[in-house]
Symmetry: C2
């Protein structure tokens, strides 16, 4: 019995046109990664489980795809564990490898393993798929590409400045103007928690603040209260909800608010440096704005925090994000390596470009020229012509069988071929070929001895 | 305790220089795939186990990496199976997904699932990793890329002709001249088995014949005898061991030998058409030769069989192979779809290019220009200059900290940067920058107002 085929939920097939569009984004991002001095690395799809487990919290551990050991894996399980019939204790006995969950932990592992070959500061980019056993839903997949650039071993804030420029360069090149790069600093969040007397509740405080967009000022205050942050503390944080003016004006307000916090003051200084540098250097089309509510994986970041939102009017979550994190590699035994990095959200950028109709028009034109097939002898002559076209970089093909003209033209139309070549017996006699412009319907005859005339016309 | 990190056996990290070299091969192959009219698709890394299991024989089933079900997977195992403590019966109960083992089965699955969107004939290429739980050894990995091009829905032998041209175009472009494309046809092998009276022993016959290179004529005959092929049959096959002359002369001998086999005669006709067409069209640098010992996965192929060997003098197995197979998609319910395809052996091609020193010299030059860092003010001016260089597509970077010149120059040397820019306080005063040519040791001063002079010099 033939199987009716399907693919696992949360995974996708990509058609030629989808691959072309995805590659358009990847290629653009890569081009700028390279001009900014980043170098590519690639790591294996699966890592030893010990490399991944425990690095993403309990939720992460649960969502990591585990690979079953090969061979007679059950014979290696001791009887006590086996008789417990407990998935959690059984898993490490029957699975030693797991699929990559993100690119950051494998990168940290890479840096530690290859530290003697690497010239620090090391600017690396990595574009590879990751896998998460998340519940699939609209826009969330179990296999998706991450697209990361990080610098390790450089403490200078110029790195943060460069990442803002990099976001701007990529989105400008993609034709996506009007993205907003939001900027915050963990030190500012910590400083605020400190000056309002809620230092021990930093995480609760920032998680609530992060929701300002969604639940409004009252909602945020309510959540803070429910987490044990006092009315008095919340009152002290009031200036956060009314921050306004330019970035530098907002920083001025924050400076006043945070004057009693050393850490907070440091955060304001850092953001001021970044904002002033970007003002000097200028951006092509993105805007840059301070956003003190921005937290992202706060436990992770120790300095700057970035997030990019799509142009106004496009309903889409963030299309990129990142920040600075100290001690990237400590867990693998290499201390005091600071990192800072950003990522591009491929799937969402794809949807935004699609919605705004920003993909180049000819992006899924996979064939420049199709030669029709009039029979063996003519086909061989056509293949000779095609061989020369291909050698000039022209995407050319021969319809493989001598079938009805109507069917061959239909195929040409379906594949959106702009030029169809007719090389039948009369042309063969004349040593010529006829080119039909499929959009205009016009025809022109060329000599087989001067194929370059047609090649020049095409280029 | 910090972990000492490692990666699973049979997997690899790729350094920036290795990624650059691998991409050089991929990009070259892709360029020609495209000019030959192939379109890219991508399929998920894991498939439902039912899609993969049973498609590659028992050995294949064993080597497929299975993914453990998420959550409390054990609770779904019935008591009878669980108490058997048998890995083989337990596997399908705790694992429903498996990592791709090759690109052909997922492609067949894709064609069937998307048959209504596809314009046949469909020429697709696919370059993605596959995974096999094979014992790792020199040149054999548990994760490696396959690089395939196939045509489905076209019976014409012109496809075979084009694949030979495609091999030639790619290897010529890689600078790898002198590869030998070996060509056979299953119908010829079947015809020989038929005329020598060993039709029922076709597989044993061809498996033995395939070893001629390694064990010599006597070895082959001995193996055939041991498999039950009679002395008389082996005697009749003698002409195979003395085939000589040009391809067309060999085909003439085969024609005589196979005159009593309809299938064999068909095979000779097919090869004759292919050889004559290629003779008419010409090849750039590859040679094409009939090789009746060539079998590869014979059970799989039904017509032409290809294999490419590295230039003489390079010790390396085949660097590519393929053939025609009928009924690619039958197992998934779509009958009568003939396919023909080839693949490129990336890892081996890499080793051959490395051995022959054929990678472009500047392939791992990841930076064109490095600006040294003389302090905050100078660094910001340098970043302004760098921003303009990058916008012109130049790979430029700023050393991130104001550290000792010696250290900065050492970094430039390690990264093989051809030009180092000095922009210190005196240059800043002069509104200029100094470019040092690292190979020649020479220096030249440019005006910050005429950066294009330097850009033009570089390009």
């Amino acid at each position: 019995m033939a199987q009716k085929p399907s693919i696992p939920k949360g995974t996708r097939d990509f058609s030629p046109s989808e691959v072309a569009k995805r590659n358009f984004i990847f290629d653009t991002v890569k081009k700028h990664f390279k001009t900014f001095g980043f170098q590519p690395i690639e790591t294996p799809s699966f890592e030893n489980s010990s490399t991944l487990m425990g690095k993403y919290g309990d939720e992460g551990d649960r969502l990591i795809f585990k690979i079953l050991n090969s061979g007679d894996f059950i014979s290696k399980v001791d009887d006590v564990t086996y008789s417990s019939k407990d998935s959690k204790s059984l898993t490490p006995k029957i699975s030693e490898k797991a699929l990559r969950y993100d690119l950051t932990v494998p990168f940290a592992r890479y840096v530690v393993m290859h530290q003697n070959e690497i010239d620090f500061p090391f600017k690396r980019y990595q574009i590879q798929p990751v896998w998460r056993a998340d519940r699939p839903q609209k826009g969330r997949f179990r296999e998706f590409f991450q697209c990361d650039a990080d610098v390790v071993g450089a403490n200078s804030l110029l790195q943060e400045v460069e990442f803002i420029q990099l976001y701007d360069a990529v989105f400008a090149d993609l034709g996506l103007s009007g993205v907003n790069i939001k900027l915050n600093n963990r030190k500012i969040l910590a400083g605020i928690a400190e000056v309002i007397g809620a230092k021990h509740l930093l995480i609760d405080f920032t998680v609530a603040l992060d929701k300002l967009d969604k639940i409004g000022e009252e909602g945020v205050k309510k959540e803070m209260l429910s987490k044990g942050i006092s009315e008095a503390s919340i009152e002290k944080a009031a200036p956060l909800f009314t921050l306004s003016g330019t970035n530098l004006e907002q920083l001025q307000s924050l400076k006043t608010l945070l004057s009693n916090s050393e850490e907070g003051t440091k955060g304001v200084e850092e953001l001021t440096f970044i904002i002033e540098s970007i003002t000097t250097l200028g951006l092509q089309s993105a805007s840059l704005s301070i956003d003190v509510t921005l937290a992202r994986g706060l436990n992770y970041y120790t300095g700057a925090i970035f997030e990019v939102s799509a142009p106004e009017g496009v309903k889409m979550g963030s299309i990129g994000g990142g920040g600075r994190y100290d001690d990237l590699t400590g867990v693998f035994g290499l201390k005091d390596v600071s990192g800072v990095g950003i990522s591009f959200g491929l799937d969402r950028i794809y949807l935004v470009l699609e919605e705004l109709n920003l993909f180049p028009e000819a992006i899924d034109q996979s064939l420049d020229v199709l030669c029709l097939n009039f029979g063996d002898k003519e086909a061989l002559a056509a293949l000779k012509l095609i061989t020369q076209l291909r050698a000039s970089g022209i995407k050319a093909d021969l319809y493989p069988s001598n079938t009805k003209m109507q069917k061959q033209f239909k195929y040409a139309n379906n594949r959106k071929v702009p030029f169809v070549i007719l090389l039948g017996d009369s042309e063969l006699e004349n040593n010529s070929f006829v080119v039909k412009n499929m959009e205009e319907g016009s025809q022109k005859e060329y000599s087989l001895k001067k194929i370059e005339d047609f090649i020049n016309y095409l280029s």
